[in-house]
């Protein structure tokens, strides 16, 4: 995954994770499904008018069709513009796929950027099957489609922020800690980031999966630290203890 690094106005260096073709496709696909749903409702509404009123006069028929045509145009462009405006760069599909549109300078999208990037969908859809857009996202530096380039926007991953991992006193095992302390020099930065990564993701994992993964990591680490196979009783406590000790170092 590629990053877009920026300086905030506080002159702090931070970065966004840019969304790639895959996640953007998922977002677009979901939005398309919703749009098809809306079109189906529109068509159903038309059918209902004819169905309920039965043999309606021509005037009613054509007024209905006229209204439907206008709604079609409004919906197909308005959907993206409306949601990106009220949800700060997200549509329902983007939200589900964990994406957000921001200005390339890191600010919230503006209404005019939203207009530009969505009207330019016409160009990105050329010549068929969104070919231009897909090519542009694949090859441009910041994974932008033509509409993004013109509007100066990027699509970023807007995942859960998560929590910083704290190894609290209650979670660690003082007895075990005493055993680990002399061997702590064998733990390196890589092991620690593995532990940290695991605990970052643990809240989002199913419990039995988490237990399995914890056992694997703890098993590897334990043999590296020359523990006997039966010596580690709870893998999660072991990992937390190692993490806390390493941080203290």
């Amino acid at each position: 995954m590629q990053d877009l690094s920026l300086y905030s106005s506080e002159k702090i260096y931070y970065s966004y994770k840019l969304a790639g073709l895959g996640s953007r496709f998922i977002g677009f696909f979901l939005d398309t499904l919703i749009l098809i749903g809306i079109y189906a409702v529109l068509a159903g509404f038309g059918a209902a008018v004819f169905g309920i009123l039965g043999d309606v006069s021509q005037t009613v028929t054509f007024i209905t069709i006229a209204v439907l045509i206008i709604f079609y145009l409004l919906v197909s462009f308005g959907y993206f513009i409306f949601f990106e405006t009220i949800w700060n760069g997200q549509t329902p599909g983007k939200k589900a796929a964990g994406l957000r549109v921001v200005r390339k300078t890191g600010e919230a999208v503006t209404f005019s950027s939203i207009l530009v990037r969505n009207l330019m969908r016409i160009v990105d859809a050329l010549p068929a099957g969104n070919f231009v857009g897909i090519a542009a996202i694949s090859f441009s530096r910041n994974h932008q489609r033509v509409g993004d380039m013109v509007a100066d926007t990027v699509v970023i991953r807007d995942d859960q922020t998560g929590q910083p991992i704290l190894f609290e006193a209650g979670d660690t095992d003082p007895e075990l800690a005493e055993k680990i302390r002399p061997r702590l020099f064998m733990v390196d930065e890589k092991d620690f980031s593995l532990i940290r990564e695991f605990f970052t993701r643990m809240p989002y994992m199913k419990p039995y999966h988490a237990a399995g993964v914890a056992e694997k990591i703890a098993g590897g680490l334990a043999s590296k630290l020359e523990f006997q196979p039966g010596e580690i009783k709870s893998p999660i406590v072991f990992l937390k203890t190692v993490g806390a000790l390493f941080r203290e170092k």
């Binding site: 905030s8 106005s9 506080e10 702090i12 260096y13 931070y14 970065s15 966004y16 006069s57 021509q58 005037t59 028929t61 054509f62 007024i63 069709i65 006229a66 209204v67 045509i69 206008i70 079609y72 145009l73 405006t85 009220i86 700060n88 760069g89 957000r100 921001v102 200005r103 890191g106 600010e107 919230a108 503006t110 209404f111 005019s112 950027s113 207009l115 530009v116 009207l119 016409i122 160009v123 033509v146 380039m149 013109v150 509007a151 100066d152 970023i156 807007d158 922020t161 998560g162 929590q163 910083p164 991992i165 704290l166 190894f167 980031s193 970052t200 806390a244 941080r247 203290e248 170092k249």
Partner: protein
């Protein structure tokens, strides 16, 4: 200090910021209480400085803080927001000013239209083999058959009017959009669409003139056509504006020039949509109405005067201030 301590000390700050962000995401900035609103700035700055600290000293927290700061940044920093007042300002002031500023592009688009109309008329008049280019054979035959029956074509059944009106409106809006965005093809797409429409208009006018029906023809075209051609010229001009960025970027790179010009071009397109909507309504209801051709031409005159007044109002606006900043939809 180790990162464990660092987290313990500052965690409350981050949690508070995160809660506020959650609320903004759910209910928007207006959903915040007064205290939250007042605290969000300091909280963000504190967290941002923690990020800087963590990048140097506590790499294991830096990723979390980066995500928090990035997320906050994309919510808290914005240069403009949507408002109806801005939209109103754009249509009354900003748009006429834009038209004034880029008038040469619109004149160029109009010139292309007129020249191709003349060309279409000439092709048709001299019975050139290329006349089929201007006017497809089927249309020509249909028109001629109507002449033979003594009709002049457009007689829309009352019940059909709304359908025609909206279908035409949608079609014109799409044509205008294409005219605009195809400017990116070095202007060839834009010019192609302009020429095709011009040829068609010229050829049709020549056929009706040949049959001695010019008055009928123009009374059928102009009531809505003035506004329609006006809007197509605007979008064509906007397309040429985009093309100018690609063809002759000047001191900018092509990409930067495109960014600058495309924004202005899009504003012009947004400005011309209501014009097309009005034209579509006229085309559905007034053009086929059973009033005399003369009255229709007078009506056409009114639309022309209204369009001219609208554009002229841009002249005073231009004198007032910076032409680059056309207001609301400004960047």
């Amino acid at each position: 200090m180790n990162s464990q301590k660092f987290i313990e000390i500052n965690r409350e700050t981050w949690d508070r910021l995160q809660n506020i962000l959650d609320r903004i995401e759910r209910r928007g900035v207006s959903g915040l209480s007064r205290e939250e609103l007042e605290s969000v700035g300091p909280l963000f700055r504190r967290t941002a400085s923690h990020l800087a600290q963590a990048q140097g000293n506590f790499p294991d927290v830096a990723d979390y803080l980066n995500r928090l700061v990035a997320r906050a940044h994309s919510h808290l920093y914005r240069t403009e927001s949507f408002s109806w007042r801005n939209i109103f300002y754009f249509y009354t002031r900003g748009f006429p000013k834009l038209v004034r500023v880029y008038r040469y592009y619109f004149l160029a688009a109009a010139a292309v239209l007129v020249a191709s109309a003349v060309w279409g008329a000439a092709l048709n008049h001299y019975g050139s083999g290329l006349a089929g280019l201007a006017l497809p054979e089927e249309i020509r035959e249909a028109v001629n058959q109507n002449f033979a029956r003594g009709e002049t074509g457009v007689k829309i059944d009352n019940s059909l009017k709304p359908l025609f009106s909206s279908a035409i409106m949608v079609n014109n809006i799409m044509v205008s959009f294409y005219c605009l965005v195809l400017g990116i093809t070095w202007g060839t797409g834009t010019v192609f669409i302009l020429v095709r429409n011009g040829l068609l208009l010229g050829a049709l006018a020549e056929i009706f003139a040949g049959a001695g029906l010019s008055l009928e023809f123009w009374s059928l075209i102009l009531p809505h056509g003035i506004l329609e051609l006006f809007a197509v010229t605007l979008c064509g001009g906007a397309g040429l504006l985009i093309a100018s960025a690609v063809v002759r970027p000047g001191e900018y790179t092509r990409m930067d020039a495109l960014r600058l010009k495309a924004r202005e071009a899009m504003k012009i397109a947004m400005g011309s949509i209501p014009i097309l909507v009005i034209a579509g309504i006229i085309e559905g209801f007034i053009t086929p109405a059973g009033i005399s051709p003369g009255a229709k031409l007078i009506f056409a005159g009114f639309t022309a005067a209204a369009a001219a007044l609208y554009v002229m109002s841009g002249r005073q606006e231009e004198k007032k201030g910076d032409s680059r900043n056309a207001g609301p939809v400004s960047v």
